[in-house]
Each structure stands twice: as C-alpha cells, then as structure tokens.
C-alpha cells in the first residue's frame, strides 16, 4: 500500500466515524434502506409488465438484495449528505410514485 493511499485512508477514517455522522448513517442504512427497498420493490411490482402475481413476487424476491445493497452503500459513500439524500430520496420518490399510480386495477 502506498503512503499516499495510507494517508487518504487516515483522512477518511476521521470523517467516517464521527459519532453523530455514524448515528445518521446507521439510521439511514437501517430505516432509510428498508424504506427505499420497500418503495423500490413496490414500484417494481406495480410497473413490471407481467402478470400481477408475478410482478408482485419479483418485487418481494428482489427487495432483500436491494436492501442489503443500499444498506452497504450508505457505509461505502463518504459524503453523508449524499447518503441521506439518495437513500431517503429514493424512499420518498418510490413511495410517492406508487401512491400516485394507486392500486393496480
């Protein structure tokens, strides 16, 4: 590992683990990640152009992968504002869209 990379690591380390930032990050991963995964799964289920039951099941089956991926990303992305914006934004957007679309007729 080069010295430059090592210094970069040390710098990241400080910003990454501040207690308040960490709390926001964890809450965003756990709750925001779930909300975004649930919203995305719902949207997939609502708009996927296959039979209703199939679209629903694809949404459910994929939701856990989405949750895990989003949850991990909140710890991989350094900029906390971006993390909060993307995760909670995804949740709001996907839930908003499914509400607008309404229950499938």
């Amino acid at each position: 590992m080069s010295t430059a990379a090592g210094e970069a690591l040390a710098r990241e380390g400080n910003g990454f683990r501040g207690p308040l930032v960490m709390a926001v990050r964890s809450a965003t991963a756990l709750l925001g990640g779930y909300a975004a995964a649930a919203g995305s799964a719902g949207l997939v289920a609502r708009v996927l152009p296959v039979a209703q039951v199939e679209a629903t099941m694809w949404g459910i089956v994929l939701s856990f992968l989405i949750y895990a991926a989003l949850g991990l990303w909140t710890f991989a992305e350094r900029r906390i504002v971006r993390v909060v914006g993307v995760i909670w934004g995804t949740a709001a957007l996907t839930f908003g869209l499914t509400v607008l679309l309404g229950v499938r007729a």
Partner: protein, 528 residues
C-alpha cells in the same frame, strides 16, 4: 479527486469496517440461529427420537387417509373443516387439526393437534414433548413473543446477508495473500479459519441466508402486495391456488371414499406423494376435498393441489402451474427447508450448516483476538469475550441438556414439554452466567468440556431409560436410533477436541504475536 486506487482501498476499508460490526452485533444470535437451524434439518427425526415409546409402521398416503377419515367421522362428523397431515417416510404419525362450527357468538373454534396411528387410527399416547419443533421454532422465533422474535431473526439475517456481501468485497484482493503469506509460513490464525469456513461454503452461506429471508418474505416485505392487491388473500390465491371456501349447503350427503381420490391426484402428479388433505364441510353436499402434494417432491416447496367434490368425488379444479417468479420464490423456500433432500443430501446440508456455524463463531472470536493487548482490557472487550463464551460454548450444552431432559423427566409429568424447553434455557444461560467467575480461557475449556460430557451422556442415558439403546438399535437395524447415538458421540468428540485446544493459549492470542499480527498480514480486515 481521489485516484482509483484510493477509491478502491476506501471502499474495501469501509466494507471491512461494516463487516466487523454487522458480524459482532448480530453474531451471537446468528450463531444460535445457524446451530439450531442446522439441527432442524432432522426435525422429524429428532421428534421421533424424543418419543421412543412410539414405533409406527410406514403407511402409504391412501391408506393413511382412509384411517384418518374414519377417525374423524367417529369424533367430528359435524366439524366445519378437517386438516390431515399424512405420514411420510420421515414423519410416521398422522396429524389432525379440526375446525368446529362457529360458536353462537360467531367465534372460530379449533381442536388442537391430535396425532393418530396411521394404521389403526388410535390416538397416540406418548410422552409430551416439543421434539425437533423446539430447535426449528427457536431458529426463527428465538422464543420471543410474536411477531418480535421473527423480526429480530429477520434483522439478524439481513445483517448476515450484508456481512456476506461486504466480506466478499473485503476479501477480494486478499485472496492472493491468503496463500502467499499464511500458507508459506504455515501459520494458522483465526482469520484463516474464518476465511476457510466462509469461502469453502460461500454459495451455501449466501443461499441459506437469502432463502431464510424468503421463508418469511410476506411478513418482512408486504408492500409489493399492497400496491397490486386490495386484499392479500387474492395474492395468495393467484400464487398458490384457490383454497376452497364458501358456506355449507346444509343438505347432508355422505363423504365419498377418500383413497381413490388420493390415488387419482397421485397419478396426476406422476406418482408424487399426497401429504395433506383439507376437507371442508365434511358430510355436506357442498363438501370439498383438497389434496396437496408433498413439498419434498420437487425443488419448489409449495406443493400442487387438486380439489374434488366431497359428495360426488368429481375433480373440480387443480392449482395452475406457477410462473417464473412464483416458482423462484417456491424453489428458494424449498432450498431453505431442504425437504427435497434425500438422506445423503440432508447430511451434506448438516455439514454445511456446521461450517456456517463455525464461520460465525470464528468471526466472533476474531473480534477479541485482534484486539488482545497486554494488561487489563477495556469493558467492551471483556463483554464480547464473555458473550462469546455464552453464545458459542454454552449453547451446545443447552441443546444436549434438552435431549437429556427428554429422557430423565418422567413421561407422566404434566407440561413436561415446556419443562424440557426450560431445561434448555437454564443450562445454556445458567452455564454462561456461572462461567463468568472463571478466567476466560478456563471458562472456554470448562463450558466446552461440559457440553462434550452432556452429549456423551445422551447415548448412555438413552440406553438406561429406554429399550432402544445402541446395541438394541444395531441388532434391530433401527437406522435412526443408531445414527442419533453416533451423532451424539461425534458432537461430544468435536466439543472435547475444542476444549482440549483451549488448554493452552492459542498462538495468535499471545500479546507478542498480536502486535505483529496486523503488519505482517497487511490485510484490510485486520485494520477493521
């Protein structure tokens, strides 16, 4: 702007960090979920072992159904609904659930599970026990009131899934180090053990974790149903076939003989086994008989079903073949439950489950090994150290005590099933609590040794308290009881070996070694 190299190390560092903390927070529960879940691959067999007074013959589904219906006509001819779980080669008793007509106030009334002899129709008289059901239920409910136990298990499972993904990302580049550094020096560390357990069975770990979430998917993720259906019942109907419903006609009509219907259904499935019957409004003109296929016949654990009229025997309908998504979810469920697996495959699953248990256990121990320093350790360190002993070394002793309690609590004691479960918790948590007064290494050694002795005692106590000891089982060719005794001895040997390994400080645990540990290996997991 950061260079690609920095970005990569940054990502890997973050993943190593989150891997460590996900694993630590969920590890103790995950260890227990892994071990009891592994035991649950043999759920019916454990139940059979725990009721040694029962020796039931195998009875084919059509005949077992006839016996069950004859029994039900005797005790509940006017019931609302009968549900019959037919025996198979693993579960030898027929299990019956009855729904009575609603009470005058309109409340649903049920008769609790009754088990009958599939040949004679007599109700079974055997010691009361939770059997293998105890490990199975604990595995995903953690003995915490509904629904919180299931939510906690789900939370730990999503932690596990995230730990697997972050672990793989962390491990990627280190794969080379794994061979070039460690193996050439012949140095075995906890990290090696953790990596070997994780990498060797990685597909299994990923499969069992993801499919675990699928088993309770509708509870964990109901939103996709809500956006598509006004009532979730419609979703279930579309996914798994229509459950026959509707009121009784009030006109009485005798139920047609059951065996030919089962044979018809089994022919339709190309010889597949019937495993469950739902008979709605028996002895009414509108009666329906739903025959459901065994979940172990196919990878998809959701069995097909055929519905017949109960008064005419006419075939009314059958479940539609599932689409790709429903099939995917059903296969995932099947992979988790392992119903499809034959005996050899079931043992492979058991070994893989044990490898997973070891992965979680070594990961937990690694957290302390990497933070070991000379002098008095900080509070969190000591807490983790003690919780590790309680979660890893004391649980096996509790499981063995549960089996011993089954043989030692007299068969007639009231509520003895719950008593067995209490013994499990008292020994597990009690041992963990008592071990706190011992020095850490002694505590590991002694609790593991107690677990070893408890497992070794199982075949002995079984020989003394029943007439189905190892010698008798060998002569009578009772494969289940022979295998059970051998498994107990193997578990005892494994725990005794672990206890013996604890007698001296492990090399990596010595402070002098630990200091050089991280720089030597240059692994990002060490930095975490």
């Amino acid at each position: 702007m950061s260079t690609p190299m920095e970005e990569q190390t940054g990502l890997r560092k973050a993943m190593a960090w989150i891997h460590t903390w996900l694993g630590l927070l969920a590890g103790w529960i995950l260890f227990a979920m892994f071990l009891t879940g592994t035991a649950s691959y043999f759920r019916p067999e454990i139940t059979r072992w725990m009721q040694p007074e029962l020796r039931l013959p195998y009875v084919a589904p059509p005949r077992a159904a006839e016996t069950a219906v004859a029994y039900l006509q005797k005790v509940g001819a006017n019931d609302d609904q009968w549900t019959v779980y037919l025996p198979d080669d693993r579960t030898t008793a027929t299990r019956i659930f009855r729904r009575l007509p609603p009470s005058p106030e309109g409340k649903q009334r049920f008769v609790p599970e009754t088990r009958i002899n599939p040949e004679t129709g007599d109700t079974l008289a055997a010691r009361e026990t939770r059997g293998g059901e105890h490990f199975y239920r604990f595995h995903f409910q953690l003995q915490i009131p509904h629904p919180w136990g299931r939510w906690l298990a789900g939370l730990c499972t999503i932690f596990m899934l995230s730990a697997i993904i972050s672990g793989v990302i962390t491990h990627k580049r280190i794969f080379a180090d794994f061979f070039t550094l460690r193996w050439s020096k012949g140095k075995r560390s906890w990290l090696d053990a953790h990596n070997v357990c994780a990498v060797l069975a990685l597909p299994y770990h990923a499969m069992i974790t993801y499919t675990g979430l699928i088993t309770l998917m509708v509870m964990y993720m109901p939103w996709p149903i809500d956006v598509n259906y006004k009532s979730s019942d419609v979703f279930y109907e579309e996914a798994y076939g229509r459950e026959s419903q509707g009121p009784a006609s009030g006109i009485s009509a005798p139920l047609v003989p059951i065996a030919p219907l089962i044979e018809t259904a089994m022919r339709e499935w190309g010889g597949g086994r019937a495993s469950r019957l739902v008979i709605l409004h028996p002895n009414d003109q509108s009666a329906t008989i739903t025959v459901i296929r065994h979940g172990g016949d196919t990878l998809n654990a959701h069995g097909q079903s055929v519905i017949f009229s109960g008064s005419t025997g006419e075939r009314l309908s059958a479940s539609a073949p599932p689409g790709p998504a429903v099939e995917t979810a059903g296969v995932m469920l099947g992979l988790h439950m392992g119903w499809f697996a034959d005996l050899a495959m079931r043992w492979v699953f058991l070994l893989l489950g044990l490898v997973g248990t070891c992965m979680v256990g070594t990961g937990l121990v690694m957290w302390t090994v990497k933070r070991a320093k000379p002098g008095m350790p900080f509070f969190g360190y000591r807490l983790v150290e003690r919780l590790n002993i309680g979660a890893i070394a004391c649980l096996p002793a509790g499981m063995a005590a549960f089996l011993l309690a089954n043989r030692l609590i007299p068969a007639g004691v009231p509520a003895r099933g719950a008593l067995e479960v209490e013994v499990f918790y008292w020994v597990w948590f009690g041992l963990a609590a008592v071990s706190v007064v011992r020095p850490v290494r002694r505590a590991w050694m002694e609790t593991l040794a107690i677990g070893a002795m408890a497992f070794a005692a199982v075949p002995i106590v079984n020989t003394i308290t029943t007439n189905r000891g190892l010698a008798a089982s060998l002569t009578s060719g009772d494969g289940l009881f022979v295998a059970f005794d051998i498994t107990m001895i193997a578990a005892a040997a494994l725990l005794a070996f672990a206890a013996w390994k604890c007698r001296k400080p492990a090399k990596a645990m010595r402070p002098s070694d630990t200091v050089s540990f991280a720089p030597q290996t240059r692994e990002l997991t060490d930095a975490a």
